[in-house]
Amino acid sequence: MPPFPTRRQFLRSNAFGLGSLALPFLLNRDGLLGAPTKPFTDSLRFDTTGKPPLQPGKAQAMISLFMIGGPSHMDLFDPKPQLTKYHLQPFPGEIRYDNAAEASSKVFGSPWKFAPRGQCGMELSELLPHLAEIVDDITLIRSMKTGVNNHGQSMYALHNGRIAAGRPTLGSWLGYGLGSQSDRLPAYLALTSPHGQPLLNNDNWSAGWLPAVYQGTMVRPTAPHLLNLEPPPHLSGEGQRQQLELLNSLNQDHRAQHTGDSDLDARIQSYALAARMQDGAREAFDLSGEPEHIKKMYGIDQEHTKDYGTRCLIARRLVERGVRFVQVFNHGQSWDHHGAIHTALPDRCREMDQPCAALVKDLKQRGLLDSTIVHWGGEMGRLPVLQNDTGPEKWGRDHNTHGFSSWMAGGGFKGGHVQGETDEWGHHAVKDIVHHYDWHATLLHLFGLDHTKLIFKRNGTDATLIDGQPARIVSEMLA
């Protein structure tokens, strides 16, 4: 046998060994299967064993630092002197408000100063001093657009391609297309905040209509991070080993009477993975072995950065151990600053800025950044005008999904690059727009997947993440 199995060997060993991989997709890709006209319904089963991509991709894993609520781009990422110039004067154009009741048409100049950072000179707000240290490693997208002015819909757009619930999220597609690189951990994990669940709860990591095996597994914010990882003390070790051995022999006998049923194989395999997860997952979540300087780098030693830093560090440990897709969520929609932005926005930044920058630095120093995409961003930005005109301390900004910022690092994204522009007021993305579907196509591309070919047969149609939208791979921001 050659050192690396050929595609066919791969298919054979998995299809008939485990009996349950995403066979239709793989066969289709190899043209081994005539295009079926009807959906695969109940006779096929799926798993998360590793599968090679169409072409070798740069990215092997992704960490999405998802900032629900809508961080204000004109106060953080996208300097707009025009706003300062016209501060508190009437906005001359048309504004697309979400909350017309509190709307004001007064321009709201950013209270924070911007300055060029790094070698590249990317301009960032003073609220993000740690991000300033890694600008040469990130692509800053200033022209994100979903165009649907509410949190839920815009989150759905970024997660699943369309503005409604029920479709599979990006992480599920990656698990379906590529499987997991770890035999000790699930392929897709979501890290939630100790302060509460994110807006939309489980919908953030839903497998939609993909088989449920591709659903994200929620990691609890506090120990135990996964349920039932601890064997009961008296069975721990030898006792449970004996149990699993007996169980395996009983199940093998049962299996022999039902040779055609691959689910029984998968079940037998799942005990093996579960046994490995008991060690693997526990070890992955255990930060006690991390050196102090690393913990300090993530801000785990400080009260305000402790929660987020811990989760960023866990995220790094997970991708290091082969997890394909990790989401890190804030609670609720804590970036939704309709009011009191003067105090609330710096507070949020203080919690996240250091840990997020540390994650990129740490991945880089371990040589993992080249193969790991880090995403930082929310589902929207904010409006150039002020909301809640009841005194400067109460000022805020309303939703804006027509133009907002996100940053990307690693996995094939350029360093020190700014992608796109919003208009002079920061309201609409106007140049080199990156729609959510363009973003998806680009991400799949970096993983070696093709957004038109990563299909799932559903209801007689070829369902995709992009769902027929005119997506383009945004090659300008790729290294």
């Binding site: 319904t41 006779s43 709860n201 006792g239 039902h258 046994a275 007689g460």
Partner: protein, 852 residues
């Protein structure tokens, strides 16, 4: 026939035809801009062949016989059309080209003009929209089901497999009908029953069991989207939903005919002729409670409007949209959701159709005059109960007053004693200061009370503890008495019902792109057009005396009409799915063009017709299915998707979430079989993160969970009775694929993932049941290990273990005991824990998890 031939191309029979081959393609990809809803981009309308015979600036849209100049071929080939969409596949373009080259043949002469929504004969003739005609049963088999199944089976050179052994058959039957395993005694009785109808008697026994309704009721509750909470972020409890759950269970146990069952759920209030205002008054009239409870079906969708929602109007419209999803997928087998924003791309369902259906429910869910969840509750108190409750409250208030007076009296006495001890000249002023409210006292008074601090005896009853602890005990006794007295009030239950306001019928407008802020034309309540033969079926008041709109009653009658082609097909297909693990139509919630066609269309139609012919009675259908050879076969050891498709052998099925939990409880001896009533609360166990039965006790001070109160024997009730909070699914059930109700579930998924194994290996629930089973064995088979091993096999599987299995078990018990002793357990404890560890293995085997 002659007519059709005339329009066939000269090039022969093989050419594609517009109506059959080309139009569905164009409808899916092009009509959105070229024809639908009056849109004709670039002046091009592709809905008829005639319309394509036109030339634009760029050239002819379609020139019959000449694909090289036809834009319809050229632009799609280059991927320039459809715009902003996925390009057509090469084979789709090739089909277009072939059609144009063949002269663009049509099946029949095209109509002179077409309405905005044009449904072709091909679409009307789609299998699920065709009338149900009862086919003749093929010869050769006694059971009609076998007669239909045997044809394709034998045509493939196969035959039914042999009948399964009685033990396997009874286990299968028992899980199928009541969701519980048979007891060893039941298995013994069946094996020993030599009568010719022994099997039929088992079916009758199980159908008569009150647990039958729990099992089959659960199937309907899935499609109805039953939940004990309101959903969305807040997911507040819905404490009264269970009345509807119990109604569904009772309806199944009573074998309520399904046409009535459906009518009651859609329009129970209108069957009674009642409005929102009258409902509470008539609730106790004969039969009224059940019919009103039934309308809870329309209250199952997530409804966060009782709490904080970001966009109120959106949330209200969403409740309506989710309700329509439930109604259409459960009863019509159609996914109408996408027609909320635009015409359905594949099925002949227009946006108008969607809003016609919406108009049926608009009087219940009038988003402009919204009633929140609490405004849709109706008290079940009788007049006497209400009176009684008021009387008890009055008495309790009297007791409260007496207690307060008692405390105050005593405090006054104490004050008087202390007052007597201070200098006489200050007494009057101190008395006045004490009687003055704290906030109104002058600085002098404050000073005075500080000076004579001993005389600062307040009047609040709680202070008695401070001044006279002995007497305070008496006060606490008095307080306990009034609390206890209040607790004797009859408990007030409520029904959550769907109802309408008298003589108030809101208008329904088509919402442009589904946006409620963009109303367009007014829409009348009517049947979807493809099911309206010639004249549209308008849903108007079937009984003039109704003060409500009568729309739902009319809709319910139409849905359950013998001539409705969808309802009975959808229902019997789902019944079939629950018996066989897959439907005759494998997409039970989608009978449209995107769904799958039936594998056995004649059987499906025969079953549907027969079901209606015999009074829509489900238990009769169960008997027919369960006595068929088709159902009684052994599982196919060499199953393949093809053999499975033609029903060669039965399908091995994993226990669903509820059956797994319930059967573990059943064999451990813990199962509490109490039927109906309030659900058992669930809570999040802070230490382990699991959702478990239990009641959260909230600390009023900080709003945090103080502790979780165990629910005692209630924790072991059947899964149906465990509170179904959308955001808090019981961990044991969720891990094994309990569906999320957002809004409902038409077919469950089955996954095989490691967290399931972890649960069986380490979860406290598994360990508890294994321990309880071990204790049961120690009681029932005290003799020795061999005895216990055999008893386990009898309880779990009804059979004896093989010698190899016995030997393995004996060896395991020995080595496990040794391993436990090494950890410091004494001999007796180690023996017990070893047995429990073995029981745990047995409860985790595939033999236990799967039904043969």
């Amino acid at each position: 026939m002659l007519f059709v031939l005339l329009f066939l191309s000269a090039k022969g029979w093989g050419a594609p035809l517009f109506e059959k081959d080309i139009r569905p393609l164009l409808k899916a990809h092009c009509f959105h801009c070229h024809g639908e809803a009056g849109k004709k981009e670039g002046g091009v309308d592709l809905r008829l062949r005639r319309f394509m015979l036109k030339t634009t600036d760029e050239g002819p849209v379609m020139e019959p016989g000449n694909s090289d100049v036809s834009l319809i071929v050229q632009l799609t080939r280059k991927g320039e059309m459809p715009k902003g969409e996925k390009a057509l596949t090469p084979s789709q373009v090739a089909l277009l080209e072939e059609w144009v080259r063949a002269g663009a043949p049509v099946s029949r002469e095209e109509p002179e003009s077409i309405p905005a929504v044009y449904i072709t004969d091909e679409e009307r003739n789609f299998w699920s929209f065709r009338p149900i005609v009862k086919p003749t049963v093929p010869e050769g088999e006694t059971n009609p089901i076998d007669a239909f199944i045997s044809g394709p089976l034998r045509a493939s050179g196969l035959d039914f497999l042999r009948e399964a052994d009685r033990i396997i058959l009874l286990r299968r039957l028992s899980f199928d009908l009541i969701g519980l395993p048979p007891t060893p005694e039941e298995m013994q009785a069946f094996v020993n029953d030599a009568s010719p109808d022994a099997y039929e008697k088992q079916i009758d026994r199980l159908l008569a069991s009150p647990h039958y309704g729990e099992r089959w009721g659960q199937h309907w509750l899935d499609v109805a989207g039953y939940s004990d909470s309101n959903g969305q972020e807040e997911d507040t409890p819905r404490p009264h939903a269970w009345h509807y759950r119990d109604y569904v269970v009772r309806a199944h146990n009573d074998d309520l005919p399904w046409d009535r069952f459906i009518q009651e759920q859609l329009a129970g209030d209108e069957l009674l002729g009642t409005s929102h205002a009258q409902a509470t008054q008539i609730i106790h009239e004969s039969g009224a409670e059940a019919k009103l409870t039934a309308t809870g079906f329309l209250r199952m969708a997530p409804d966060p409007t009782g709490g904080n929602v970001a966009d109120v109007n959106l949330a209200r419209n969403q409740v309506m949209a989710e309700t329509l999803k439930t109604v259409s997928t459960s009863l019509m087998g159609l996914t109408l959701g996408c027609a909320q924003c635009h015409d359905h791309r594949y099925d002949p369902v227009s946006q108008q159709d969607y809003f016609r259906l919406r108009a049926v429910f608009e009087p219940v869910y009038d988003w402009k005059k919204w009633r929140g969840p609490n405004e849709r509750l109706h008290s079940l108190h009788t007049a006497e109960e209400r009176q009684q409750a008021e009387k008890i409250e009055a008495e309790a208030k009297q007791m409260d007053a007496e207690r307060v007076a008692f405390a105050k009296n005593r405090l006054n006495e104490i004050f008087a004693e202390r007052l007597a001890k201070i200098p006489e000249q200050d007494r009057e002023q101190v008395r006045v200061a004490r009687e003055t409210e704290e906030g109104k006292r002058t600085p002098e008074q404050h000073e005075l009370l500080k000076k004579y601090i001993e005389a600062k005896v307040g009047t609040d009853e709680g202070l008695l503890l401070l001044f006279d602890p002995e007497m305070d005990k008496k006060r606490i006794e008095m307080q306990a008495k009034s609390t206890a007295h209040r607790a004797t009030k009859p408990k007030e239950n409520f029904l959550m019902i769907a109802s309408e306001i008298s003589n108030e019928v809101p208008e329904t407008f088509l919402h442009n792109r589904g946006d409620h802020d963009q109303p367009k034309e007014k829409i009348e309540p009517a049947a979807i057009e493809v099911l309206s033969p010639s004249q549209p079926v308008i849903f108007t008041k079937p009984k003039p005396e109704l003060t409500t709109s009568g729309r739902r009653l009319a809709f319910a009658q139409w849905i359950t009409d013998r001539k409705n082609p969808l309802t009975a097909r959808v229902l019997v297909n789902r019944f079939w799915m629950h018996h066989f693990g897959r439907g005759l139509v494998k997409t039970p919630g989608d009978f449209g063009t995107l769904g799958e066609a039936p594998t056995h269309p004649e059987l499906l139609d025969w079953l549907a017709a027969d079901f209606m012919d015999h009074g829509w009675e489900l238990k009769r259908l169960h008997r027919m299915i369960l006595t068929s050879k088709t159902w009684r076969q052994i599982t196919d050891p060499q199953t393949t998707s093809i053999r499975e498709r033609i029903y060669c052998g039965a399908k091995l099925q994993r226990l669903d979430a509820e059956s797994l939990r319930d059967s573990m409880l059943a064999v451990s001896g813990k199962l509490n079989l109490q039927i109906g009533g309030e659900p058992v609360s669930v809570s999040r166990d802070v230490a382990t993160g699991r959702i478990i039965p239990g009641k959260e006790v909230i600390n009023p001070g900080n709003g945090m969970i103080d502790k979780i109160e165990a629910t005692g024997e209630n924790a072991f009730r059947r899964s149906l009775y465990i509170e179904s909070r959308r955001s808090r699914p019981l961990t044991v059930l969720e891990t094994f694929d309990l569906p999320l109700m957002n809004p409902n579930c038409t077919a469950r998924t089955v996954t095989t993932v490691a967290p399931q194994s972890l649960l069986l290996m380490n979860d406290a629930f598994t360990l508890e049941q294994a321990g309880a089973l071990a204790e049961r064995l120690e009681r029932e088979a005290p003799l020795n290990n061999l005895d216990k091993i055999q008893r386990t096999w009898t309880i779990l599987f009804g059979i004896a273990p093989t010698p190899i299995e016995t030997t393995r078990a004996m060896l395991f018990l020995v080595s496990q005991r040794e391993s436990l002793q090494k950890q410091g357990l004494d001999a007796a404890k180690a023996s017990h824990e070893a047995l429990a560890a073995w029981c745990q293995v047995m409860l985790s085997t595939n033999q236990f998890l799967y039904i043969e």
